[in-house]
Each structure stands twice: as structure tokens, then as C-alpha cells.
Symmetry: D2
Subunit: 474 residues, 4 copies
């Protein structure tokens, strides 16, 4: 809410050896992954080859009720998905998982990420007479798999070949009548992990989903790895020679839930570290350190621990403001942030305050939050950002925008500091951000901070022609 | 409601030379065509190449409200669709029009009918790596068009070729960024007609849609004809050498609205004739003739006119019972027809009654209606059916069922008469039913009455494998 | 729909000797009474003294679903209500039955009618410190009963006394923890009848409700009669010395369902008679007689029978246009009646047509319907109205409006005829309208046709001050 | 959520000197007060004497949308209400504000609190023939005011007299056609404060509502004070000789938002103090202090500050679990708290943990939270509760339950400690809890901790007879 940067999706899959409540388990898990996508969601249940699904625009608690869950019924495999997209394209036909029939029967796909060659592939398929119902990369992926399936002896063999055709970021779940397959792109941009339940296995974007259903975390999928879960158990296939991978570092800074563990590294600990490094890089004489809720709280605590400056609770975030909040036109003049966030005067009054946030995009919101503190009596406000400044768009599954919307592309640090009304401003260095997940076995993508990407990116990132041509209005 | 036989669909299209309220015109027209399909509906608006659409499960008044109509906005072309299907498969993803993107851009399709080679074509496409999102014939048609479009110089050229690949019944609307195309299968199973408005043209399943928006009826499309409406006006293309065509005779008996004119013949007049012929074929000594509302009323009047037996109003139909009526379990023992239909005692008490209905499917409902009359005091009840007995399924776009559900496949006329509790029973002859639309220029399909079809039909009519495998539960 | 005149309400009550599905029976019966009120509805179930209820704005099929019916559960007594009111005051808090607690426990009231001294009583109660939640007469009635209950030995004794305080039109159901009481005002303005079921009794505004649940009609309540149904059976109490009563004649002309029998007289037969008398009073040389659906159909048949001019089906009414229909602004210029009603050209083309309708209010709609016929090719259109002209408002439970909205207060017959574009116009005489229900035992209120009312009416009929002051916006 | 103790209500009122967006301001303020009541809400707008309202079951964002807000329109006075009640009685007819008409015109009332003599008053009014629509105390209050208004020269004079008749806890807003009146019971059980906006005044349960709309806090109403806001400004009336008052101490511990200031004392600071005192009373050797979100966080920080034990973030609370969450039956065996709350293993693993929560009711939830920590690897778990143990019910507007549901009435501290699986357990003393709001000018009600109440309480607290007799099922 505060940053305006969004993860695109979260995925969950479950395989059990006997018919069970896979829909209910998926439902609970999607709640745990809701922070990864609040636009639409869906569940597909596989009951011995018969696929049933329900998906729609809305939060998990809006899309699913007792009746829809009951109608999904029981099964032995299921996959689920939560999705975010910018408001304009928020429509039911883009909700996932995608359920299609191809030559070998039904198939369901749930996808987190963004292909860099989607447009190219789409054109190839169109030139063969294929039609597209949506603007989802997922539909492109389904064609890539289906095309290979014509020759390949199995769905996993088809997916393996398809993984050499599609490029970019993808953490993917594919459900066939008898199998649950999970795959992660060779660079491992997005997380994906495997867990164990009594009677089978689960796969999820983050470990917090496992905790919610009492599953045991086994391991993260390796970059380029594909695992096939069926009646023979779990089978791993390595593609792309096992590259080391470059996970999105912003997963640690903001996207993931602090209670998740990604690539062996606790997200909460990574954020504490961000605070520590921030102090080391940008120390300041102050009376109290506060975090902007929710994602700034951990880094604020780390900053406090390292600096010795007392930690304080400086803001209350209104938990009831949701998508349906109507900004009354009459109050638009006023500080709209006030409705969502309120400063605690008794914490900051007369004090020199260090305020930790995870990022600055356009600067408007940051400026309003600083003003909240000044109005509440803060004597000084020193802003510290627990990541480097955004200077380039993301091509790998988030909505970090084009340069014209990024304040750091247009102003110097000093200018930003003045613009947001802070007494001082410090960003975490790129060097430090790479050290947040200290013990993790992978490298990191920091493209949005450096404009240097691990893999080739499209020259331009035009909005899909089709997207502007067809809009479902719901 | 009473017969349990359903038309599958109704279509409407509009082309105007300047941007106008095409969504509103389509909305009003779909109301007029609602009797052709009550399951789902949709509208696609084309504003200079930008397609906007809204479709969902429900009646027109449930799916569209002020907000959705406003969001569809203005445009210069639009198509709309109303759809019926059996309850089980009633889901949003099967709602039409179908909107896809193919190699040349966006395309929208609305379809009334049923292909006889859909399964065969589907398999061919799957073998080329194509995927299917639904079990609609419409998706098969979109592939047939798209495949040809790879080579054809225009959308109409592609559709023309596709019309030689797809077989069966189809009255089709195709909207491209700049054109509205309407096509009717070479046998003309389903109606489709062209009309004129101030600033352009309209196409609809029935003329009653024209009346509702003040459009002027021009003519019916000919069997096998395709017309292209664009900035150059209306252009006609004849395919399949201009066969004579065999329209579904049941359109006159039951499906179409009495105020429509199909193939130059008034539906109301056809039904009056059905009553006249019925009297000639099955005269009876009686005091009053009544029709089962709504579709039996016209034939009852014709029977009265020909016989001289007074016409009476024998039933009141409850106008408020809809899809959402909950049959209370406790009253199931009782005559459930009573809730929907009530006999007017003062009309029938102590009288010998001729009761006209359009058809008998399983016989249960007919039996209950006869009982209503007896309970209301009728001395004798002579049932006359304004069409021949169903003895075979329909393969051309209606849900006339397999033989095991048709009472006339299992009983003789005498047995049926006894089963429904009538004093006498008479069906209209096949010979007479063919004369209903006396002056129309085409022949008729009477396959459901004779098991002799105008074109080859599939040996079996299995439920699609996919259909039972994927069910969207909404 | 076509006339724009509305009945205000319908009521239903059921008493059974053992716990049963009283909610389901009431639900089915409210469907049968839906024509008496389409704004809001409600059901109160009494399970051995515990009252449960559900009521809301909407049709029966919108307000009640499986879940709400199940939650109402079983019981031994229940009452239900359907309500109409002008759009502005359509809100949930006015929905009935009214459920309150007074000194002796809970009480539920359902009311059809209109008090003439409501304002006077309301002021009296306010002067004693009473508060009002709504602008319903029903709340006034509940105070009248409660006030008497302080002294009276039983609820029926209290109601009996209250019946001498409240004046005007009321057909009333009162449910106490152990009793179902029905009462009809001493003039019997609105119908109310008693029926028998296996295990108890039912009371309803019209007999069509009895038919829908298989109940047996016993008799109409007499004007001024009160009946108490409890474990001792049915007990009748006569108040006001058994006046003869003057039922609203428009119940026969338009409000009631044709299959109902009121005061021993069939509504359908009354309408046939209206047609017969119309011919006698206003004969015309013509080729065909048609009725405006639905309420003009019976009179048209009577006119045809008496005159020998053939009866025809001249219009199709769209059954799917409901309250939610959005009149697209662009089509407002055009004939809006076209969307709801279409003329059957083959019936009227080139003919001299007699068109029967039940009433003319402002004349606008009638004019549009006449135009439909002319556009469809009618050579002459002779309008015959099956009731006298409205010249005065109704104070007894319908919304027949103030004089400025009644065309007959402003124009002569000739002027109206010209205004609506008819070739001739004839109204039924007051004398004849009183003979419609020939064999009924009561007199008739014809105040809206004569401005002579059976009882004193308020001098002015101002909108309630409160009504304009408090509006619930839902 | 975690404690299971609920405040009953929150109120807001606004008076402006000219017609303005009072509905929008009230809407925003109710968001800020949402934590005080999540069952139902409502807004009444007064536009120069014309009252418009909307209220329903649901959260503010569910009950109000763009359309409902627009329909409420503009005005110069408005009041709003959020309400909590136990699930069973959650129905629309109990939603507030209550809008009624009495002898002098319309009146709207919003109420936070609980009367101790409601039943007695209700019986008195029933004996005078009054009827009740709900089981709200608010309806009783409206009768008390109306009764006095018969003799009193003004609404404020009537309310003043009524304040001597009603007993118990009430923070009350009354809106007449021209005035906004606020009143607080003589003991000041519930908070109520006055603020200033550009063009008028606002009144709210908590100051956080003022912050959200940019209003300036002026002061709290004094116990027994009534203030009248009209075109003459603010007028204060003192009743009951200005008692000192005993505000509910649990407002500071749990109910109020930490950013609110009540009786001059910051809620956040009060909770920090609770943590400090807890350490002094129940010190423990430990490695980390964590709070149960959200209400335990402040006290945990205070405990850390006082003890020097590091503060940690030990839990993540799922922000998306709401009222509509469906507990899948299959997972009921498992720890249901897991879905709402997850422990951060990296914070607690291998550590001796102090866990701060605000209260223990039945002990079940506390036990599950302790288990979460153990499962996450905590070596020791020391539970500290930032209030004394509940041993008696509350009669003043919260749902602190009867003794049989309070674990502290049935077990010793040691037994509770064992029951919840903690290594040690310490409650804050009654003495300390009274010092939380150190600088506040009032005394405190600690009846739920001591069974000694500031005023007489009813002998028994029976469920209202009517409540069990009438249940609206929605």
C-alpha cells in the first residue's frame, strides 16, 4: 500500500496419495500468500482426472465462500493462485490458474513471473493459427508446453523442452490428470519451495504457506529445476545445467512475508540486517527509530539494535482500509495518507526521529508520511530506505515502473530529500542489499537498482497491443 | 418452461457509420431475444478497433446494469448473444460472444447452432498443438477461421473457406476491427435476418429484435449466404451454390416469438395454422378450447376458429417464478405444476375441454396439467399437440434429447393418452407441420419427428469427454 | 405495468396444529400473491412463541433463497406479506410484516389497505410519548392494539377494540405467540379469505394462493369480521354490526388474479362480463378484437363473444423486462413501450381493430400502444376501456393518484380519444362496473370513478411530513 | 481477534455551519473507529431538517459504497455509528444510529455503552402501551427522551432529564433537526471527546477519528456533561453535580487505538507503562521480549525498555483473515491459530522468550500461541499479561462474559500457567493497572478485575426474554 510496488503472483500446489480435502488446504494456503497478489485468485481441484475450478476477481475471502469450496469438493491434486495486476486490466478472464484442454487431455497452469520473450512467442504461435483468449504469459506457456507435447512422451518431457523456449522469470505449477509438476526458471528469479505433508507433498511460493497448514519445509527448488510429483513420489529433473541463479533481492526487502524463509535465509533476519547496514552507511544522531508499517518495522528494529537509538512505535496503520475505500472528493485536498496511517504523537513529539521505509517510488507518499511526523511534533525527521534507489524498470514479474515514474531518475538524493521534506535521506547501497540474505546459496537480481540485468531484456517494454485493444469490463 | 425443450442461442449485431450507442441498442435487442437463451449473455463493443466486453451467467437484466453498460461505452460495431445450456454446464467461461486475438488482431464471434463435426475438427486442431478453453463449438469455429486467415486475404475470405470445413447448423456473427460479418449455414437450420437503421445495419436471430429498437426488416439471410457490413455498406457472398435450405420447423411451433417473421412467414400465423390443421386431423366434440400458456395459445385460437368451438382462457401462468424458485421439499409430493400454472375453474368447470400444447416430451408435465383441469372441474380433457411426436434427437442446436427420454419412443399414442390422463390425444401430422409456414421459400428440417435428417449426423452423440473432465463451478 | 395503477399489498397466514414447513408454504403463497406488491416482502415464522423473520426490498425470488428459508426453519404459525409503494419510499424499514414487542410479548402484523385516520392517530400517540420508526400505517395499528391490550383480557379483545379506533381500509393479519388472527375492515374494501389445509387453516388476500399450495377455499371473511385461529380451531367475532361492505371494484377489473374468486365471484368471469357490457354500451363495426396483455385479455374475449367480432392475439408482452431494466437514454426519444410490448402485424394489418385495456391514467402509454397498432398496419383502432374513467384519488390502499395526473379530469372523452390517437373511445359505465361481480353478496366502492366514497375521506391527502423528512436510502 | 473481548460501539458526530460533505467526513471517521465495532454501521445525514440514512450489517467498507454515499448527499449535521455484538444477534434492525420520529419531529441517536436499568425502563414503557422494535438500549433511551420532551421546552432539556432516568454507561449522540447533542454518563465509563474543524465541530469516541479528518482535538467531555452544538456554537450543561468519573481501564489496555489520547493520556504511553510495570512486578531472566499483535506490541516494548531485554518481532499476523474466513473442517484438528498468526522462528529459536498479551479469557487461544512459539524453537516461554485477571463480568458496554467462561474464576495462576503451557505467568496488578493513564484526571472502573463496581449492577444479567423470542435471520 505504502510503496506502490507489487509482486505479481503467488502459487500453491498439493499432491496427496488419497482423495482428501485438497481444496481446503489450498484455500488456507492462499490466505497465507495473499500478500503476493490481491487482485484475483483461483483454485483447481483434480479428482482422479476430473478438473473442477473456481476463480474470480477479488481477495481469497471474497472469491471463496462455503458454497464454492464445497462445490470444488475433494480430490487428490490441486493448485491455487493469487494474482496482482494494475487496476486497468483487472478482469476475471485473466484470473489464474489457467485451465485448458490440449491433445492429451486437461491441464492447469499457475504462474508467478514474467516472460521476456512472450511477445515473440505469441507472434510465432499466431502465425501457426493459434488464438489467444487473454494477455497472460500463462497462455503463451500453455502453448509452448502443448506444442512440445505433440512429440514428447510425457508432460514433464514436454515442459522440460518448453523451458528452453520460454525466457525470463517463472515459478510454475502444472497439473495434469495424474501429476503435479513444479518448475523454476534457470535464473530462479522468483522463489518456489517444496514441503511435506502426512500423505503427500506441497509446493508454494513461500514457506509461510507451509506453516499455515502444518506442512514441513523440505527445500527450495533449484534454479532451472523441475520436480514431478506423482504416485512414484518426487522426481527431480535439472535443466539448463544447473545455473546458480539470481533471485530478486526485493523479495527479501519487501515482497515476501517476514516469517518466510527463502533460499535458506529468513526474510525477517534479512530485514533486520538491512537496518543494521543502513545505520553503518548512514548514521545519524537521533532520539528514536521508527518503521513505516508493515514492511519498515523489521529494518527499524535492526537499525535500533545496531545504533543503540531506542526503537519506537511511531505509526498506527488502519487495518480496515481496503480496495473498496472511497476517497471522498472533498477530502482529496487533505493528506490522504492520514486515513491509512496515523502518527503516534507521544512517540515522536519533540524528538529527532529516524524513519525507516522500504523504498521510494514517486516520492509523494513519502513526503506525506514525513509531514505526518512533523505535524505530530517530530523535531527532525531522518529518512532511511532499506534498499537502493529504483532507477530502472523490472522485467521479471513486478510492477516497478518505467523511468519517468521513478523519482530517483529525475532528482539527486539531495533534491529528493528536500522534496519529501526530510532532514536527511539515506538509501541502502547496492553492495549491502546483496548481503541481506547472507547465507543464501544464490546470487541476486538487482536490475531495478542498477539497470544491469542477469539476462537480456526486451529493448522496449510496450504495453501489449492486444491489451489496449481488448478490455473486459467487469 | 412447460415443454422443457430449449433453443440454444440468439444473436444480434449492429454496425453504424459513426460512433453511437451500439451497446444500448444491443442491450435492448437481447431483451427481445431472451426467450432464445436464458443461461448467460454478453455484449462486445468495438470502438474503432478497441474491443470492450462484458458477459456472465444470468438473464440480461441480471448481467447488465447501468454501470456495466456505461463502461462498455460507445462504439460503431457491437455484437451480443443470449445462451441456453443444460444446468450442469452453466458457467461463465462458456458465455458468448467469444473474444479472441488471432494473427490479424482481435475477433469476436457469436454463434447459434450446433456443429456436427465439432469433435472431429477439435481433434485435428489438438493434433496441431492448439489448446481449448471451453467446450463451445464457437471455439472450434474460431480456429477454423483463424487457420484460413493465415492464407486468406481478408476475414471474409477466411470465413468463406471455413464454412466449407465446419458442418451442421450455424447462424454466425463475426466482428473484426472494421467489419461485422453474418453467415448462415448452407442448410439454414437457424434463422438470421438483416435490418436497417438510420445510420447503418443490424442483424438478428429474429425480427422481434428489430421491432424493439425501431429497425426496419430487410430480408432473411439465404442458406449458405455470408454478408459483410463495413464502411462500403452491405456485401453479400454466396457459398455452397445456394442450396434451398431446411429451416428447423420447431422455430415456428415453439422457439421463435409469435411476433417474429421468419423466412417471410409470420410465426403467429403458423401457429394459428397448426391449430386449424389439428382440428382437421383430430376433430372432437367439445365445449371449449384452451391453450397452455404461452406457446399453446395461438394454436388454440386457430383450433377454435376452424372448429367453431369457443376459445377460452383456461390457465393463469405465474410470471414471477424464475430460475431461482426453490421447490420446498415438503411440497414436492404435491403437484409442482400448480405453482407455475393454475386452471381457471370458471372457464372449464363442467365442460368438455380441448387443451392445446406444443409438444410432449416425457409426459409428466402434460399429465399434471391435465390433472389441473380435472381438479378444476373439467368433464372431459382432449389433448391436442401442435406438432408431431418427438421420436429422435436433434443435432442442430436444440436440446431435444436422446430417445430414452422421449415418451413417444416408448409408448403408443393410446398409452400416452392414458398415461397423461386425457380422454383423447392427437398430434399434428408431419405432413401438416411442413405446411405451417405456408408461404416460406424454404424446406424444413423435421428430423426430430422422423429421424430423417437433411444432412448426415454423427453416429453417436456422446457427451464431450472434456466436458465431464472440466467443470467450472461458479 | 401498462396501467401504472398499483395495489398496495398482499397478505398470507398459516396455522398448523403441529410444527411443520410453514415458511415454505408461505413462500409459495407469496409467489401467487406477488402481483399485489412487487417492492418488498417478508415472512415471520412462529415456532412455539419464538419469532424468526426475514424481510427485504425485492421480489420474493430475490429476497428469499435456500439459505434464508432454511434459517427461518419450521414452526406452527407464519405470516407473510408482499408490498408495493412508489419508488421514492421503497426501503427495507417499511417492509412488512412488522415485528414488535409490546407488554404481552412479541406480535407480528401484516396489513393490506390504507387508514384514513392514520395521521390523527399518529399525533395522538406522539402526544403520549410514543415513537415511530416508519411511515407505515401498520405501526399505527400496532399502537392501537397495544394500547387496548393494556386493559383487554386477550389479543383478540384488544384488536376488536382497536378496530373501532382505526378507520379506512384494512385486511389484517396479527400473529401472537399462540394465535393467528385475521380481520377485515367494516367496509371490506380489500379481500381476505379463509382456507383449510390438512392440519390447520390458511388466510390469504386471494384464493389463488390457496390453489398454489393445494388448500381448500372455505369462505371470504365478512366485512368487520375478525377470526381467531388457535388450538381451539377457528373462532369468528363480528364487529360493527355486520355492515354489508363495499369492496373495491377495481380488484375485479385489474388488481386480482383472474383465477381468484372474490366474494363468491370469479375474477375472470367479471372481466368477461366487462367485455360484454362494453360491447353493449359502445358497439363498433370492426374486424378483430384484441386485448392489451395481461389484464385486457379477458375483457377482449368477452367483447368478442358478445359482439361476434373475432378474437385475436394482437400483442406480445416481453416477459423479461423487470424493475432493473435500464432505459438507454439514446432510445428515450423512441417509443419506449416497444420494448415491453410488440404488435403482431399479421393479426392487425389492414384491419379495423378493437383494442381493450383496463384503464387510462395519464394517456401517454395508451397513445403509444395505439401507435404500435397503427405502425403494424391497423386501419382503424377503437379503444374500449373495461372500467369507467378515473376522476378522483383512492384513499383505500391503491395509488390512484391526485386529480392533476388523471387525464379524465382535464379532457373530455373526445379530447382523450384524439390525444391517444384512437378512432373511437368508450369507457365502461359506472352502472355496469357495479354489475361485474354479479352474484357477489357485497356492494362496491367506486370512489375513484365518482368521487363519492363509502366513508368519509380526509380533506386533503398530504404527503406525510415525516416521509419527506426521513428517507432511508438503500 | 486474539483476546475475544469486544468493545460494543463507537460514535461520531459532525456539525457544520453550512451545507457540506458531512457524510464523507463521517465515513472516513467511522473507518478510524472501526476497531470499536465490526458488526454493523450506519450514517444519518441531516440536510436542514431532512434526515437521510443508510445502515446495515457489515464493515464500513462493505456497507458503504460510492452509490450509497452519494445518495446520502450533503448536509450540515451527521452522526455515525459502528457496532459490535455477539454473532447470534447480529442483524440489520439492531444497526445504529436509531432514527425515529417523536412528537417534535425526527431524531437520530447513536449510543456507546450499556444501561443497567434498561429492563426496568422497558417494562415501565411497555406498561404505558409503548412498543419496541429491537432489543437495543438505544430504543429505551429514545423513549426516555421522548417522554420528557412532552413537557420539556427543548430537546436538550428533555435529554438532561432523561439522564436522571437512565443508569449505567453511555456516551451518546442525539441529532435533532437543528442540533447535535453529545452526552456522557455521570461515571464517564466510555470515552467521548470534542474537536474543532474549520466550519464547525466534531464529536467522537476517540481522537484517532479527529486525526483521520484533520480535526483539532479540544477536550474530553466531562462525566455527566452534555454539550449542545447548534448555530450558537457549543454550549455545555453539567448534570449530576459533576462527579469525578471512572472510565473503563480496559480502554487503555485493549479497546482504544494506541494513537488515541483519552482523558489527556496517550493510549500508547499507557501500554508502554503496562509493560514497564509488568517487568517490575514479574521480572524474569530472558533473551527476548515479543508482543502478541497487535495490542501486545506496545506493552512488549515497554517491558523491553524497562528490563533491558531486547525487543523482538516474534509473530506475523495475517491481515487478510476476516469474518468470512471458513475454517475448513478437515483442518480443525490442527492449531487454528496458525492461520491467523505465525511465529518467526529466526526471532525465537533457542531463546528464552517473554511473550506479552493483553488478557487471557478462556485460555485456549493463549495455549495455542505458546505452542506456536515452542514449535518455532523457543526454549522457554514466559507469559506476561498487561492487565489483571478477569474474574467478573462487565455491565458497562463490553462483552466480558459470565464467570463460567473466565479461566481465572476456575483456576489458580499456577494452574493457568500449566494449562497454557508457559514456563511462568504474570498478570499486571490491579494497583498498577490503575496507574496506566498516570496523568488522567479521572478514576477507573476495574470491576471486571475486582467484582467491585463503581455503581450498582443488576443482580443477574439474564438474556433479554425478547431476544430469545425474536431473532431476525438475515
Amino acid at each position: 500500500m505504502v510503496t506502490g510496488i507489487h509482486e505479481e503472483c503467488g502459487v500453491f500446489g498439493i499432491y496427496t496419495n488419497k482423495t482428501s480435502d485438497v481444496a481446503a488446504q489450498t484455500y488456507v494456503s492462499l490466505y497465507a500468500l495473499q500478500h503476493r497478489g490481491q487482485e484475483s485468485c483461483g483454485i483447481v481441484v483434480n479428482d482422479d482426472g476430473v478438473f473442477s475450478y473456481h476463480k474470480d476477481v477479488g481477495l481469497v475471502n471474497q472469491v471463496f465462500d462455503k458454497e464454492t469450496l464445497e462445490r470444488l469438493g475433494k480430490g487428490n491434486i490441486a493448485i491455487g493462485h493469487v494474482r496482482y495486476s494494475t487496476t486497468g486490466n483487472c478482469n476475471a478472464s485473466n484470473a489464474q490458474p489457467l485451465v485448458v484442454r490440449h491433445i492429451k487431455g486437461p491441464m492447469a497452469i499457475a504462474h508467478n513471473g514474467n516472460l521476456t520473450n512472450a511477445r515473440e512467442l505469441r507472434e510465432q504461435y499466431e502465425n501457426k493459427g493459434m488464438i489467444f483468449h487473454s494477455t497472460n504469459d500463462t497462455e503463451v506457456i500453455s502453448y509452448a508446453i502443448t506444442e512440445e507435447r505433440l512429440r514428447a512422451p510425457s508432460i514433464q518431457a514436454a515442459l522440460e523442452k518448453a523451458m528452453y523456449r520460454i525466457k525470463g522469470a517463472y515459478s510454475l505449477l502444472v497439473m495434469s490428470p495424474t501429476k503435479l509438476i513444479a518448475a523454476r526458471d534457470p535464473d530462479g528469479f522468483r522463489p518456489l519451495c517444496l514441503g511435506k505433508i502426512d500423505d503427500g507433498y506441497v509446493v508454494a511460493s513461500e514457506t509461510c504457506a507451509f506453516d499455515s497448514i502444518g506442512a514441513e519445509y523440505i527445500r527450495d527448488l533449484k534454479p532451472g529445476e523441475m520436480i514431478v510429483i506423482d504416485k512414484n513420489g518426487v522426481n527431480s529433473i535439472t535443466t539448463h545445467c544447473g545455473k546458480k541463479g539470481t533471485i530478486c533481492v526485493f523479495e527479501y526487502v519487501y515482497f515476501a512475508r517476514p516469517d518466510s524463509v527463502i533460499e535458506g535465509s529468513s526474510v525477517h533476519m534479512a530485514r533486520l540486517r538491512a537496518g543494521k547496514y543502513l545505520w553503518r552507511e548512514h548514521p545519524v544522531d537521533a532520539d528514536i527509530v521508527i518503521g513505516v508499517p508493515d514492511s519498515g518495522l523489521d529494518a527499524a528494529l535492526g537499525f535500533s539494535q545496531e545504533s543503540g537509538i531506542p526503537y519506537g512505535i511511531g505509526f498506527i496503520k488502519n487495518r480496515y482500509i481496503g480496495r473498496t475505500f472511497i476517497q471522498p472528493s472533498q477530502t482529496e485536498r487533505t493528506n490522504s495518507v492520514k486515513i491509512k496511517l496515523n502518527a503516534i504523537s507521544s512517540t515522536v513529539k519533540g524528538k529527532r526521529v529516524v524513519m525507516i521505509d522500504d523504498s521510494i517510488v514517486r516520492g509523494t507518499t513519502s513526503g506525506r508520511i514525513v509531514k505526518l511526523l512533523r505535524d505530530a511534533g517530530a523535531k527532525e525527521v531522518h529518512v532511511r530506505i532499506s534498499s537502493p534507489a529504483f532507477i530502472a524498470p523490472c522485467y521479471f514479474g513486478t510492477d516497478i515502473d518505467s523511468k519517468e515514474n521513478l523519482i530517483a531518475c529525475k532528482m539527486t538524493n539531495e533534491e529528493i530529500c528536500e522534496y519529501i521534506g526530510a532532514d536527511s535521506l539515506g538509501y541502502l547501497s547496492v553492495e549491502s542489499v546483496k548481503k541481506l540474505a547472507g547465507n543464501s546459496k544464490c546470487d541476486f537480481c538487482v536490475g531495478c537498482f542498477t539497470e544491469k540485468y542477469p539476462i537480456e531484456v526486451p529493448k522496449d517494454m510496450p504495453k501489449d497491443k492486444f491489451e489496449s485493444k481488448i478490455s473486459e469490463k467487469k
